[in-house]
Symmetry: C2
Subunit: 484 residues, 2 copies
């Protein structure tokens, strides 16, 4: 089914969206006319409108019927909430499940909120067990209980297993949709066996070889099945020295293996050597994309992906934690400045210059952290080279501190005609950039050691320290050397 629904790439998904929006606009127009005429006269008018109205909806339903589920998901994400729900109503019930899997978390919530328990149950029952596991956190308990009861005992086992792994484990990425064969048969037997399928699972680039206890033996790439003579045995062609994922492995590691070795699918094997599932490249692509989006969202302090049509109230909440945290660090920085009020009173120029010291060091420290976080993710930082890296970043910080601090010092000198002020400025920039380099390395390393994701929250802490630290260093030096 999926294959038949692949649209031409050239008439791309934006065009589909525009067509749907066009139909929705027509529908809204008729709706408006109908409502206007409901109160006064002429039932005929009303009838005509109703028909027209129905026609647009029918057209819309047809249009949706011809689209790939992923495209419908895209359209739902791109429509404001009322239109989104109207379109959602027009989608055939038997496609609800696959579309719920495709949409973003925030939009999924908005769709599920309008569905009855029964509709949800029907939708969930259309899905594979690994997909049900993805949907489970958003479903009411009662619905999940019913769905669970409708499954075979093997499927229940799969669902339990898929749900037992944290989101960032290989177990959460795997599916159970794989073709297994024995090693003591010929390719001809394998070919005959395959012909009994109506369709192979998506992303079947290799068959998994297991023994009668489901112990994983190796893989037979379809390539080899096609290129060799029918009478050859599987055992002669299978590859035994392959990548084996374990369900407890970090998803990140699996993604790196897929990237590095250009995999399409990989077996997941438990500690007893039993084949329990497989991971396919499409899941890995989705994982990589969502991880990288999370990185960008985290950098901006957004708790989660935001539905652009969510209510103001909901969106505002998504942004609070970060703003509250930043307000706290800003209050602290403000108190640091406050403790030098006397100095500033005597020398107002300091107030104009202090944001420069804080800002540039913050930028520089965030550059350092970005590089450290990336290298940590790639496992390139070892105990051996951490010290070396620190020295290097301190050298860069010192160099940049002299360079840009020197320029800032000249700026201060030309504005306020004080050599001492210029020197204090340069000295403060230099010191604060060194502080920035130090914490730019230390914070992600310490977070990593504590088992936390260094990409989350590093930048708030760093900016807090370079801000408060910058004010303290600059105003402190000024108090020591400029004020008598």
């Amino acid at each position: 089914m999926t294959e038949n629904l692949k649209p031409h790439y050239t008439e791309n998904v934006q065009e589909h969206l525009q067509q749907v929006q066009h139909l929705l606009a027509k529908h809204a127009l008729v709706e408006a006319v109908a409502h206007q005429q409901e109160m006064p006269r002429a039932e005929r008018h009303e009838l005509v409108d109703k028909l027209l109205h129905k026609r647009h909806l029918a057209e819309l339903r047809n249009k949706l019927g011809s689209l790939h589920s992923a495209d419908i998901a895209y359209i739902l994400e791109s429509l404001p909430i009322e239109q989104r729900l109207l379109v959602w109503d027009l989608v055939k019930a038997e496609r609800d499940g696959e579309i719920l899997i495709e949409v973003s978390d925030a939009v999924r919530e908005s769709l599920i909120a309008t569905m009855s328990s029964n509709e949800l149950r029907v939708a969930a029952e259309q899905l594979d067990t690994d997909e049900i596991a993805d949907l489970a956190p958003d479903l009411p308990h009662a619905v999940m209980r019913d769905v669970f009861q409708s499954l075979s005992s093997e499927e229940r086992e799969q669902l339990r297993s898929a749900m037992s792994y944290p989101e960032d484990a290989v177990g959460a990425l795997m599916d159970f949709d794989m073709v297994t064969i024995r090693e003591d048969v010929t390719l001809e037997v394998v070919s005959r066996y395959l012909r009994r399928f109506d369709e192979l699972p998506d992303h079947t680039d290799q068959l998994f070889v297991v023994d009668r206890d489901d112990i994983y033996k190796g893989v037979l790439p379809l390539n080899r099945l096609l290129l060799n003579e029918p009478e050859v045995f599987v055992s002669a062609l299978m590859i035994t020295d392959t990548i084996k994922l374990q369900p407890d492995d970090k998803a990140d590691q699996a993604a790196q293996a897929f990237e590095r070795y250009d995999l399409v699918s990989a077996p997941v094997v438990d500690e007893d050597g039993k084949l329990v599932g497989r991971v396919t490249v499409n899941t890995v692509v989705d994982y990589i994309r969502s991880e990288s989006e999370n990185d960008v969202l985290n950098l901006a302090g957004l708790r989660e992906e935001e539905d652009i049509f969510a209510s103001v109230w909901k969106s505002a909440q998504n942004r609070w934690a970060w703003l509250a945290l930043n307000l706290c660090t800003a209050f602290f920085a403000s108190r640091v400045i406050g403790s030098f009020e006397n100095t500033i009173e005597k020398y107002v120029a300091l107030a104009t210059l202090m944001p420069i010291v804080a800002g540039i060091a913050g930028n520089s420290a965030n550059q350092t952290t970005t590089i450290v976080i990336r290298s940590l993710a790639l496992g390139q930082i070892t105990q051996g080279n951490a010290r070396r890296l620190l020295l290097k970043e301190l050298a860069i910080g010192g160099f940049n501190g002299l360079l840009w601090g020197g320029i800032a010092g000249l700026f201060a000198y030309f504005l306020y005609h004080s050599v001492a002020l210029g020197v204090v400025m340069t000295g403060a920039m230099l010191l604060n950039l060194l502080v920035g380099a130090l914490i730019g390395i230390a914070i992600p390393l310490v977070m990593q050691k504590m088992g936390r994701d260094p990409a989350i929250g590093s930048s708030v802490m760093i900016t807090a320290i370079t801000d408060s630290g910058g004010f303290f260093i600059f105003l402190g030096l000024a108090t020591l050397f400029l004020i008598r």
Copy 2:
């Protein structure tokens, strides 16, 4: 060959790195001893050392020989420059090409710098034409000329074509490694044809059906080849309604199509309908990863991916443009404050509070921009809903302005016991958050309209405006209402 080199996933790549580092350390030790003993007596000692020394290098060479090219690339990226070049020397020359393709740009530069023209030519000649095109920008002209001359006329055509597309076009992602068949043959003929290959190209999940003029007709998934009887004709099974990429399409769009429709490979067809190449999922994964890394690097103002072992001088340069730009905007903000020196002189509390106004609005505006940039990339922002989005973000800004501005106002009031100061603080926060929401939407939209990537540089501009704007609004309001 690649297949045989896939390592066990469990003894993962970090372990390989550690083993290599261990061997390198042994080698360095022997080297040190050897050098100490060169000056005094006993040639015997020296000989023993030389042998030992050679033994470690031989061990290292063996180790490298057993590793996948991608793993060697990883190890090269994780070693400081001297050790990196030592390992590079030990890699068999016939693997140089594939490893150069795998390493990051920065590391590739460091390796190429040590290679002779002849070595480079040999390395390049091992590669497919699409890979040569990737390497070309880093190769000296003379080398490229030689390589070009060594190619067949068909390959020259491919190389010319691959090099003619910008980096972000589908043409730059495509390869030419595909199996084409005719529609008027049976599956049996296709199977016989395939058996003549030693190996199918990587990621062959479907065969491309063309006519005798290479006009693209459709695809035959290997699935269908396997599941159907040998006497069926290709024309009866091939899928004609597939995604077709064009070489001029944006690579981004192609990546989205791969994600959305879970593709493994897709045909690239020129404007005359001729099949010119294909794109495979591994290239798309690399593209997605490098794009997302670029996004994160850009946010931190790093010009390019950095080799963590590059020299201080080189790394510092990578960070200059951003720091220089930020210094300029900081100077400007400093002058904004400077124009209110009289006000600050009369009321020093303002100096302690002003960074709060600037900072929180900057954070809030960057949250807005992050969401807008993401929605733009997905094509979810249309003329119809841009206004709606603006109103929503203004509402969120206003709401957050009152909330956090109110808290900041109370903070100011309790510290300085002035109701007027508290009100000015709240008012300034509210106004600056509204400014932030406005530019947080406007800047990426305008950049997009100008055909520039809104992810690059938006955040500097936004921070510059919320900083200078915040100081201006806060100090301006204070001058009007607090100073008599």
